[in-house]
Point group: C2
Chain length 156, copies 2
C-alpha cells in the first residue's frame, strides 16, 4: 500500500490546473483578436453582466472597494471592453455596460473554455472528468460568482 501524497501537492495541482487553463485561454484569445485582455478582466466582465452595473455594485460583487472597482473599470474602458453612461433616473450613478467588443470577448472565452474542457475529457475520459468536477463542487462553496479574484494574491 502506498502512503498518502504530501498535503501540499493538492493545492499546488489545483492551482497548476487552473493556471494551465487560464493561460491557454488567453493565448487563444490573443490569437482571436483580444491580445490585451488579462485574466482578471474576464472575471470582471462576467461580473458586469448583460444588464450593466455600477462601480459600487461591481465592488460588492467582486469583494473589493468601490475605488478599486472604479480603477478596473477605467482600464477596461480604455481598452474598449466597457463603457460608462449616466443613469437618467439617478444622476449620481454611472452605469457600466459591456461594449460589443466586450461581449465578443466573453462569447469567445466561453467557446474556448468548452474546447479546453473537451481536451481534458479526451485525456481523462468523460467519467473521470465528471467525477473530478463533482468532487470539487462538493468541496467548494456553491456560488460561482463572488470569487473576489481581483487582488486576492495581495490581500492575504
Amino acid at each position: 500500500m502506498s502512503s498518502d501524497p504530501p498535503g501540499f501537492e493538492l493545492p499546488l495541482r489545483l492551482f497548476m490546473g487552473f493556471r494551465m487553463i487560464i493561460d491557454e485561454l488567453h493565448a487563444e484569445l490573443a490569437r482571436q483578436g483580444h491580445p490585451d485582455v488579462r485574466p482578471m478582466h474576464g472575471f470582471v466582465m462576467q461580473a458586469v453582466g448583460p444588464h450593466g452595473t455600477t462601480a459600487v455594485d461591481l465592488g460588492r460583487t467582486l469583494g473589493v472597494s468601490k475605488q478599486a472597482a472604479g480603477k478596473t473599470i477605467d482600464t477596461l474602458e480604455r481598452l474598449g471592453y466597457v463603457e460608462r453612461s449616466t443613469d437618467p433616473a439617478d444622476s449620481r450613478r454611472k452605469i457600466v455596460k459591456l461594449t460589443p467588443h466586450g461581449i465578443d470577448a466573453l462569447m469567445k472565452s466561453a467557446a474556448i473554455f468548452d474546447d479546453l474542457r473537451r481536451t481534458w475529457s479526451h485525456t481523462l475520459g468523460e467519467d473521470r472528468l465528471r467525477a473530478l468536477e463533482e468532487d470539487l463542487r462538493t468541496m467548494t462553496p456553491p456560488d460561482f460568482f463572488r470569487l473576489d479574484i481581483p487582488g486576492w494574491f495581495g490581500g492575504l
Copy 2:
C-alpha cells in the same frame, strides 16, 4: 443523459479549491504564531530551501527578475523569516537562509496541509481524492517547483 457542464466551471472550481485550502492554511498559521505570512511567502520560503540561495538564483527558481526576488527577500527579512549573510568565498554574493522562525513556519505549513488533505479524504473518500490527484497530475506539468506564482496575476 445530462449535458456537459459549461467549460468555465472547471477552472473556477480548481481555483476555488486552491483558494479554500490556502485560506484555511493561513487562518490556521495565523493562530499558530504566524499572522503575517502571506500566501506568496510560503512558496518563496519553499524555494529558498534548506541550503539557502541568492537573489539571482531565487529569481531564476521563481521565474521573476532578480530585482523582484530581492524585494521579496527584503520583505521576508523584515518579517524575520530569512536572513542574509555574505558569502565568504565570493564577496559579491549574499546568501539568503531561513531563520528558525522561517523553518517553523514551513514545518507548521506542512502539518496543516496534511490535516487539510485528511479533511478532503474524509469527505470524498480516499479513493476519490487519489483519483482527483492522479488526474490533476496527468493534466499538469510534472515539476512542482518553478510554479512562478509570484506576480502571476499581474503578468498576463
